[in-house]
C-alpha cells in the first residue's frame, strides 16, 4: 500500500491553497465539514457509554498520546547528530522509477507547470525575491544517493540532485538561528523541518532524480530531500518556504503522526 490512511475530519488546509479552488468546491467543503462534526458528536456520545474502549480515536487518550509524541520530538532533537551522515549508495543500487508516496494515489497527481512555477520565500530572510526553476538549476548542484524510509515500513534507494539547502538558506540571507523552516506545496500539503535538519549536509532542494528532471509524481519541479527524515517529511511540488520561530503545523502531524519524524 502506498497510501497513508487519514482521519478525514482533523485536517483543514491552512494557507498555501489556491483560494479559487475553495470557491469552486464550497458546497463540498461545507458538506465534509458537517459530516465531520456529525461524526465527532456521535463518537463523543458513544465514548460516554463505552468507557475504557477509547483506543486513541480522538478524545483525551489521543491528547495524552500526542503529548508523549511531543516529548518524543524533544528526545529526537536531543539525539540528532548534526554532522553524522546517512549511508550513501552506488548508482547501480538506485531504484527506477522511485516508489510513490502521498496521501492520495499516483493517478491523482496534478502536474505543476514549470514555466509559470516559482518558489516564494518569506519569514526571517533578507532576500525575499521568488526563484524560477532556471534560477534554481543555475545554482551549484549536489547529488545524494540515499535510502528513503517510509513511515509505513518500506524503503528504497534513490538518487536525488539539486541545491544544498544550507547553501540556499545562506544565499537568501536566512536567519540560521531561527528554529524552523515551513514548506508549502502545490497540492496544499504542508511540511516543516527543524533548523538542525535543514542545515544537515544531506538536505537538498532536489530538481532531478537519477540525472533527469523530477517526474511529476515525485515533485516536479522542486522538492525537499533529506537523509534524516521519514519519507513524508520530504515535501514535493514546493511552492513556498518560510523561515520562522513558530513551530509550523504540518499535514501529517495534524493527524497525529509524529512532528519530528527523524530517522
Amino acid at each position: 500500500m502506498t497510501k497513508i490512511k487519514r482521519f478525514p475530519s482533523l485536517f483543514r488546509p491552512h494557507g498555501g491553497v489556491d483560494q479559487s479552488v475553495f470557491e469552486q468546491n464550497k458546497g463540498l467543503v461545507e458538506l465534509i465539514g458537517r459530516r465531520g462534526l456529525f461524526r465527532g458528536t456521535l463518537s463523543l456520545g458513544a465514548l460516554t457509554m463505552l468507557t475504557g474502549c477509547d483506543w486513541g480515536d480522538g478524545g483525551s487518550v489521543e491528547q495524552a498520546l500526542r503529548a508523549v509524541s511531543r516529548w518524543n520530538d524533544l528526545v529526537q532533537a536531543a539525539i540528532f547528530r548534526p554532522d553524522h551522515l546517512a549511508p550513501t549508495f552506488t548508482a547501480a543500487e538506485v531504484v527506477k522509477p522511485p516508489r510513490f508516496n502521498a496521501h492520495y494515489d499516483v493517478e491523482d497527481v496534478k502536474p505543476v507547470d514549470g514555466r509559470t512555477w516559482k518558489l516564494e520565500v518569506s519569514g526571517l530572510v533578507n532576500d525575499k525575491r521568488s526563484w524560477s526553476i532556471a534560477e534554481m538549476m543555475s545554482l551549484p548542484q549536489q547529488e545524494l544517493i540515499i535510502r528513503h524510509i517510509c513511515v509505513e515500513g518500506w524503503d528504497y534507494i534513490g538518487q536525488w540532485s539539486g541545491v544544498n539547502f544550507r547553501q540556499f538558506l545562506e544565499r537568501i540571507g536566512a536567519d540560521l538561528r531561527a528554529r524552523y523552516i515551513a514548506f508549502r506545496c502545490a497540492d496544499g500539503y504542508t511540511e516543516a523541518l527543524d533548523m538542525a535538519t535543514a542545515l544537515h549536509p544531506q538536505t537538498i532542494l532536489a530538481t532531478k532524480y537519477a540525472g533527469e528532471p523530477l517526474p511529476d509524481p515525485f515533485g516536479y519541479p522542486l522538492r525537499l530531500r533529506t537523509s534524516t527524515k521519514l519519507g513524508f517529511k520530504n515535501a514535493k511540488w514546493l511552492t513556498a518556504i518560510e523561515v520562522t520561530n513558530t513551530r509550523p503545523r504540518t499535514y501529517y502531524s495534524d493527524q497525529g503522526f509524529n512532528w519530528f519524524s527523524g530517522i
Partner: protein
C-alpha cells in the same frame, strides 16, 4: 518504583518467592507488552512483511496507522524503562543467578520428556525446572533484541552503528523485530496456559507466593557474608 531491598531478596531469614519489585515489574511489563504487540500489529498491517499475514484489525490497537504509532512510541518508554529496571534488579539482587542459572542440558531433556508424559511435578513453586529456566532466559534475551531492533528501526541513521549489526539492511531489522514479537507471543501462549493450569503460580505473582528461606532456596548460592548496604 519500590527500592531494591537486599533484605527481601537475599539478606533476611525468609522472603517471598516473588518480592514486590518483581511482581510490580511483571505486571507493568504485561501491560507494556499488550500495548507494544497490539500497536505493532497495527503498524505491521500498513505494510505487511508476509503477503499471507494481516493481523485482525479488531485485535490491533489504534484506529488508523498514526494511532498505532502513537501507542507504540508511548509504550516503548514503559517497556524499555521497566525492562532496564528488571534487568538491573535481577542482576544486582542475585535473583537471575539463583533462579535461572545454571541450566543443565541433561535436566532440560529429562524435563521435556517428563512434561510430554504428563509426569512433570509442580509442587515446588520455588524451583524452576530446566525448561522454565530456558524459557525465561530466552524471553529475556528476546526482549533485549526487540528493544535493540526497535531502536534501530526508529533511528536507522542516528544509530547507524546499530543498523550495521543487522548488515545495514533496514528490512532485515523489520524482520528481526517481527520475529521477536512472534517469539514473545509464543512465550505468552505457553506461559499463560501453564499459569492457568497451575493457578497457584498465577496467585503467587499477585500475592508474592510462599515465604522461602533465602539460604535454603534450591540452587541458591550461600548468602553474602556481609550486608551490601
Amino acid at each position: 518504583m519500590t527500592a531494591i531491598s537486599p533484605e527481601t531478596e537475599t539478606g533476611g531469614a525468609s522472603s517471598r518467592l516473588h518480592p514486590l519489585p518483581v511482581r510490580l515489574m511483571h505486571w507493568v511489563n504485561a501491560v507494556a507488552m499488550f500495548i507494544m504487540i497490539g500497536s505493532g500489529w497495527k503498524i505491521y498491517n500498513d505494510e505487511v512483511i508476509f503477503g499471507w499475514l494481516h493481523f485482525p484489525e479488531a485485535l490491533a490497537i489504534g484506529k488508523w496507522a498514526q494511532h498505532g504509532l502513537l501507542w507504540h512510541f508511548f509504550g516503548m518508554w514503559i517497556f524499555a524503562i521497566n525492562g532496564l529496571l528488571y534487568l538491573a534488579y535481577g542482576i544486582f539482587s542475585g535473583r537471575f543467578r539463583r533462579k535461572l542459572w545454571p541450566i543443565s542440558p541433561r535436566e532440560l531433556i529429562s524435563t521435556v520428556g517428563a512434561a510430554l508424559r504428563f509426569k512433570l511435578g509442580h509442587d515446588d513453586l520455588t524451583h524452576y525446572n530446566a525448561v522454565q529456566k530456558s524459557l525465561y532466559v530466552g524471553v529475556i534475551l528476546i526482549g533485549v533484541v526487540s528493544v535493540i531492533s526497535g531502536l534501530t528501526l526508529w533511528k536507522p541513521v542516528q544509530f547507524s552503528e546499530l543498523l550495521a549489526l543487522f548488515g545495514n539492511d533496514f528490512q532485515t531489522v523489520r524482520l528481526v523485530h517481527f520475529l521477536c514479537m512472534a517469539a514473545i507471543c509464543g512465550f505468552v501462549v505457553v506461559h499463560v496456559a501453564l499459569a492457568l493450569l497451575v493457578p497457584k503460580t498465577l496467585i503467587a505473582m499477585i500475592t508474592g507466593g510462599p515465604r522461602v528461606p533465602s539460604a535454603q532456596m534450591p540452587g541458591s548460592s550461600p548468602p553474602e557474608p556481609t550486608g551490601r548496604s
